[in-house]
């Protein structure tokens, strides 16, 4: 009965999807995930609606998730009947109006403003516009987990169904739980939350643990600063994550599921809530799901802002309404977790991968990646890189390819890349040919982590970055284990004194010893990895630390106590822009004459540096110099 119902629903969904694909009226797609909205997508939407109304044009507007290249945001795509979808980047309200008026009314697609089209390779219409997926950022990428992001309306279960959605769970029901676990084992899927533990193994332990009630939890507490893969996936394709949760719950025999998600992701929470309601309507939640005899329900738990709650046992404590503090393991949550019952916690991306494996089979999945590290991984590629954004690549790709081919490299010379967020390590140029896989990154002293990739150029100071990460983990330490609570604090203090130019000769050795002690003496992943940024920078960038300690010199000109701002008289045109923004009146000088910057009044707020516009003509007229160089120049 239910199955027939489902067939009908799929047919209806297919029809709805086809209607959109072969629409008789233009279709306008807007990237409206949180990042798109931050870039101004809502203003664009308003302008699009207004323009359509003013010109009495008929068109469908579809708000889609993030397609990846954040540097092009806000993105607006237009499909005219019988023509391929064309993507326009960096669209503001005015540009949106312009494009719509010329394309929809005059038929001029404004080729110069277009970044790419989604048609076939030999599509004749698109004179000169490259294919979107041939753009340098997208060409090396694959789309498995993110396959629907940017294409379907995330608030429409029908769009998901029409794109083979919920086929994975239907296959799983046909196979039975044991074979589902075997399939995931065969696919070689490892936890995408960071540690890379084989997913099937965790499941097997849980399935075989005695206990009437079992729980399945989705870990969406994406706390790594600098990472947004999970948010983008949930906002762009929430049903994929929910289907994955259903598959995992079925495999381990859990009847209650939770999604633990950061309260800082309001849009993702709204989309999940809508998707859960739709799942229930379509018979994918509740009793006897699609006649399989399997019961399952999902509740959302909003996290309250604690990085440590990404750790499994701390997350469980938080769901139970307590302080999110980890406890010692074993017993592992798979044996005794939430309310003492066997519990599996899987990361959003792990769950998002599952429907693909169950739908297409393990051997299909294994075409991606390398031996031992099969499949794909999403990363948020950010920092000093030309083309930042959300990317998905097969495991085993080199860092060089990701940073330079996909990301386009940094404007100034590349210095380092931080993988794995605050728990990861800072890798130098010599590691650029390291393939991205769990073991290679581990051998280099870093970790895969959940997928943050932060690129740094020569303007980034490694002492500052190590201090920043450690300051973060120190504040987020729950305080249970003294090495983590006290040790990280002490390390931050040492780093601060180095950054202030008060470092002592033995400080580096102290940092090393402290770091290793914190790693050994902490219960959970937070403490065990917190010293990584310091230890890796000490290992790969020791000369820079030494310059700070012995010569009180910050080569990147970041450490505030060690730098000074100066006006370069030959370049200064005397435009007075800097005078007008200086909050302390440190810059003086009459119009059209080189200005003077009084270092004793300067608070190093950087406002003048940012507003100085003469970089286009003759390089910056206001420079940041490391203090050490100033006496050198004076003696010359």
């Amino acid at each position: 009965m239910n199955i027939i119902n489902l067939q009908k629903k799929i047919k209806k969904a297919q029809k709805k999807w086809d209607l959109l694909k072969t629409s008789k009226v233009p279709v306008i797609y807007l990237g409206a995930a949180s990042c798109g909205q931050a870039a101004g997508a809502m203003d664009v939407l308003e302008s699009v609606q207004k323009t359509l109304k003013e010109n009495r044009l008929e068109a469908k507007i579809v708000q889609v998730g993030c397609i990846g290249p954040c540097y092009l945001e806000p993105l607006m795509d237009i499909t005219l009947p019988g023509r391929p979808r064309i993507s326009y980047s960096n669209v503001g309200p005015k540009r949106a109006k312009n494009i719509i008026e010329s394309y929809l009314i005059k038929g001029d697609p404004r080729i110069k403003l277009a970044v790419g089209h989604f048609g076939d390779e030999n599509c004749d219409f698109t004179n000169g516009i490259p294919r979107f997926f041939d753009l340098p950022m997208l060409k090396p990428q694959v789309r498995v987990v993110l396959r629907n992001c940017g294409f379907i309306d995330p608030e429409e279960i029908d769009h998901y169904l029409a794109n083979e959605g919920y086929m994975g769970i239907m296959n799983a029901f046909r196979k039975g739980p044991e074979k589902v676990i075997a399939e995931v084992k065969e696919a070689g899927l490892r936890g995408r939350g960071g540690a890379g533990f084989p997913t099937y193994k965790k499941w097997e332990i849980c399935r075989n643990s005695p206990g009437k009630t079992k729980y399945m939890i989705c870990n969406a507490d994406e706390g790594d600063p600098g990472a947004f893969m999970n948010r983008s996936l949930i906002e762009g394709d929430p049903h994929a994550v929910l289907e994955g949760l259903l598959i995992a719950a079925y495999a381990i025999g859990a009847n209650q599921g939770y999604i633990y998600i950061r309260a800082e992701y309001p849009l993702a929470i709204i989309r999940l809530k809508k998707a859960i309601t739709q799942m229930r309507e379509y018979g994918f939640l509740g009793k006897n799901i699609q006649d399989s005899g399997f019961d399952f329900d999902i509740a959302i738990k909003e996290g309250a802002g604690a990085f440590v709650c990404g750790e499994e046992t701390a997350l469980i404590a938080s769901v139970e309404g307590e302080r999110g503090m980890p406890r010692s393991r074993p017993p592992f949550p798979a044996v005794a977790g939430l309310h003492g019952m066997p519990t599996i916690i899987n990361n959003v991306e792990t769950l998002g991968t599952l429907p693909n494996i169950l739908r297409n089979g393990a051997s299909w999945y294994k075409q991606y990646g390398v031996q031992g590290n099969y499949g794909t991984k999403t990363f948020s590629l950010v920092g000093k890189v030309r083309r930042p954004g959300l990317i998905e690549v097969p495991l085993g790709m080199t860092l060089r390819k990701i940073i330079f081919d996909i990301g386009g490299g940094s404007r100034k010379p590349f210095k380092a890349v931080q993988t794995g967020g605050p728990s990861g390590g800072c890798l130098s140029e010599e590691f650029l040919d390291t393939p991205i896989d769990y073991e290679s990154l581990g051998a280099a002293g870093s970790i895969m982590g959940s997928g943050g990739l932060i690129v740094m150029d020569e303007d980034t100071c490694v002492v500052d970055i190590a201090r920043y990460f450690l300051d973060f983990t120190q504040k987020e330490s729950c305080g249970k284990c003294s090495p983590c609570r006290v040790g990280t604090r002490h390390m931050v203090e040492i780093l601060e004194s180095i950054a202030k130019g008060q470092g002592q000769a033995n400080d580096l050795a102290k940092l090393q010893v402290l770091g290793e002690t914190v790693k050994r003496g902490s219960l959970c992943g937070l403490g065990q990895t917190a010293p990584n940024p310091v230890l890796t920078t000490l290992r790969y960038f020791r000369p820079e630390y030494l310059l700070h300690v012995t010569e009180k010199h910050c080569p990147a000109a970041v450490c505030r106590e060690l730098i000074e701002y100066r006006v370069v008289p030959e370049k200064c045109t005397g435009c007075q822009r800097c005078v007008s923004v200086c909050p302390t009146g440190a810059i003086i000088g009459p119009r059209a004459e080189p200005h003077n910057l009084d270092p004793s009044k300067c608070i190093k707020c950087r406002a003048c540096y940012e507003i100085c516009r003469f970089d286009a003509i003759a390089g910056d007229a206001i420079v940041i110099r490391s203090k050490r160089r100033i006496p050198d120049e004076q003696t010359k």
Binding site: C35, C70, A227, G303, A304, E320, G321, V382, G383, M456
Partner: protein, 161 residues
């Protein structure tokens, strides 16, 4: 089912609490969601709120405060009319989030976690708003400002009263 009993005379406020509590069963796991709803309604967790929760969930006020103070989301002082959140995630840090935060502190004469004297703004530092590719980012109420500079700051702040 727990029935919630009135603890104080303040009827108007009590009704709010009754409304909030009515969606929960009164289990220990409800504590964090209840705190979140209360903060949504009142803007912060007051001593009085904790006094109200305690009999409903049958846990001590100390324990409630212990849990609430563990999580960075909860605040214990009255917020301003507008809330500024400055992102200090990694990408924002690398691109100058700290400088932006200090500029706001200077401009409004306020420290992170505090509210200005005229209650116009409160300032908070947050770990990551998840818009890392658009760094540095700040949020005022529900509006997100991306690729921020110190220069744009004054103009933006003037839009809020």
């Amino acid at each position: 089912m727990n029935t919630y009993e009135l603890v104080q005379e303040d009827v108007l406020c009590d009704n709010d609490y009754v409304n909030i509590f009515s969606a929960f069963k009164g289990e220990e796991g409800d504590l964090i969601p209840i705190l979140q709803r209360i903060q949504e309604r009142f803007g912060y967790i007051s001593e009085e709120a904790i006094k109200h929760i305690s009999p409903f969930l049958k846990i001590s006020e100390n324990q409630i405060f212990g849990v609430a103070s563990f999580y960075s989301q909860f605040r214990f002082s009255e917020p301003g009319r507008n809330s500024i959140k400055v992102c200090l995630g990694t990408a924002c840090h690398v691109r100058g989030g700290q400088i932006l935060c200090e500029a706001i502190e200077r401009e409004l004469d306020v420290s992170p976690g505090q509210t200005t004297e005229d209650k116009r703004f409160d300032l908070q530092r947050v770990a990551c708003l998840g818009c890392c590719a658009l760094a540095p980012v700040m949020q005022i109420n529900e509006d997100i400002y991306s690729r921020m500079t110190v220069i744009r700051l004054k103009q933006i702040l003037n839009e809020y009263n």
